[in-house]
């Protein structure tokens, strides 16, 4: 191999800048490897997506339970409860599992669930609801977890 093909940089400032460049790339790659898998074209992790889907299922179950009880007709007098029933029990869900619309739908479901739980637990029936383990679990999962 001719001498001039050896890697022999001699400018200390250039070396420092090159080291910085490569160290930055290494930091970036390490960070990326440490991250959970991502949905193509989105910055939402699969963990987060799983959590949101669980929240949607919990909201649907909660709505079924609330509307099927004797309290159902009372709750249905409020417009917001009727809207929730219409939206999550009687309307078709977005089909694609990874589209931005589906993600937006799931995030909205999570917000609706949190609002519904807050309203339920601050109502006069809050103490009654807390007697049931399922409601305590929901409270812990969605209202007390940061």
């Amino acid at each position: 191999m001719p001498d001039n093909e050896f890697y022999a940089p001699d400018d200390i400032d250039l070396l420092r800048m090159e080291n910085e460049l490569l160290a930055f790339e290494v930091r970036f790659l390490k960070t990326r490897l440490g991250e959970p898998a991502k949905i193509p074209g989105s910055s939402t992790s699969l963990n987060r997506l799983g959590y949101l889907e669980e929240a949607e299922r919990d909201l649907i179950l909660l709505l079924h339970r609330l509307s099927g009880r004797p309290t159902g007709p009372v709750l249905r007098r409020t417009r917001s409860f009727r809207v929730l029933e219409q939206k999550y029990l009687h309307s078709p869900r977005p089909r694609s599992s990874s589209s931005p619309e589906r993600l937006a739908y799931l995030e909205e479901a999570e917000r609706d669930l949190i609002l519904l739980l807050r309203r339920a637990f601050t109502s006069p029936f809050g103490k009654l609801l807390r007697r049931r383990k399922a409601f305590r679990t929901l409270e812990q999962r969605y209202l007390q977890t940061p």
């Binding site: 250039l14 910085e20 790339e25 910055s43």
Partner: protein, 348 residues
């Protein structure tokens, strides 16, 4: 040690492959320092020797040149193909198609005397008018003389090393695709190149799905870009680097080898303007040198990142980074940084 030429004026030393027409192309009749090869001169060692310091390879006899046997390094020599005019576009497309025509980039040239043949091929391969060398005659000696005159004209200006272009294109291509993402067919992709030059990167985007805009620093280059990409919008950068575009107009704003020519204050203004015109969730991309060489205003990656954070008030997320080493350069000198803009759209 040989360093990449990148963007410099060079002394042209083209190699002409005349093949079966070698007798019709006497070296004495050609201007400048060029070498003529016949169809026996394309044995690997002979071709390697001839292309060692060549600034262009002009192929006058397409049918006898062994394109399949040239090496990766030899592909970094800009190629000029002279189209034989006795054949129509579908025939040449069938014979050479993607393996040859599909590999011709913005730094390669296509010479032909037949406008119909040019039109028949250029659309399919996204060649620009700037890549065409118009010939007056098909005679090999006249074609060679015309091509050499054009190469000499181009060499008087700044010429980008094709090897450098290849490395940059290899890094940018996947990031352009990632920036485009998955979108409905009827939603156009809005891309802005800052420091657009003659619009070289515009051909990386599908013109049917992209609204390409470019901002240039010199009038001549902006005019060249308008001529080559009539579907795009090209403007001169205004005083104080203010962009003539509304806020949140683009899905991608990128600059290739532009900011390292600018002092820190100008870098900051340009980054800030790029951020302003990018849509929330859209991408900002910079391919620059981060290791100082002959250029005065190169800053280290850390300083550049600090500038970006300052210019955007930290409202960006790092999506991709890779260091680039250009052929024959002892250092990893370049870097491609891709960021997405964080924020809430002003209008829905």
């Amino acid at each position: 040690m040989n360093m990449p030429r990148k963007e410099t004026a060079v002394n042209p030393r083209p190699v002409i492959y005349a093949g079966r027409f070698a007798d019709e192309v006497p070296t004495a009749k050609l201007p400048g320092d060029c070498e003529v090869l016949d169809d026996w001169s394309v044995l690997p060692f002979r071709l390697a020797e001839a292309l060692e310091d060549a600034t262009a390879l002009v192929v006058l006899d397409l049918f006898s040149f062994p394109f399949e046997s040239i090496t990766e390094e030899q592909r970094d020599v800009p190629l000029v193909v002279v189209l034989p005019s006795d054949f129509d576009a579908p025939f040449l497309n069938t014979v050479f198609g993607e393996p040859l025509f599909g590999t011709l980039g913005p730094l390669d040239r296509v010479a032909t005397a037949d406008p119909a043949l040019w039109e028949g091929l250029r659309r399919g391969y996204r060649w620009t008018d700037g890549q065409r060398i118009e010939l007056d005659s098909d005679r090999p000696v006249e074609a060679a003389a015309r091509v050499l005159a054009r190469l000499e004209e181009e060499a008087a200006g700044t010429v980008l090393d094709k090897a450098v272009y290849r490395v940059r294109a290899g890094a940018l291509g996947p990031q352009f695709v990632a920036a485009c993402g998955v979108r409905a067919e009827d939603v156009p992709f809005d891309a802005l190149e800052v420091g657009v030059g003659s619009g070289r990167w515009a051909s990386s985007f599908d013109p049917a799905a992209t609204r390409f805009a470019g901002l240039g620093f010199t009038e001549g280059l902006v005019e060249a870009a308008i001529a080559d990409f009539p579907g795009g919008r090209f403007d001169l950068i205004g005083d104080g680097f203010a962009f003539p575009h509304a806020d949140e107009s683009f899905d991608l704003a990128f600059a290739v080898s532009v900011l390292h020519h600018q002092p820190a204050a100008s870098k900051k203004t340009l980054i800030s303007e790029m951020w302003r015109v990018a849509r929330p969730g859209g991408r900002l991309m910079f391919l620059e040198d981060f290791v100082a060489g002959d250029l005065e205003h190169v800053v280290s990656i850390q300083k550049f990142v600090d500038l970006v954070l300052e210019a955007t008030a930290g409202r960006v997320i790092l999506e991709h980074f890779e260091a680039l080493r250009y052929p024959r350069d002892p250092y990893f000198r370049g870097g491609l940084i891709s960021l997405s803009k964080v924020g809430t759209p002003q209008t829905w």
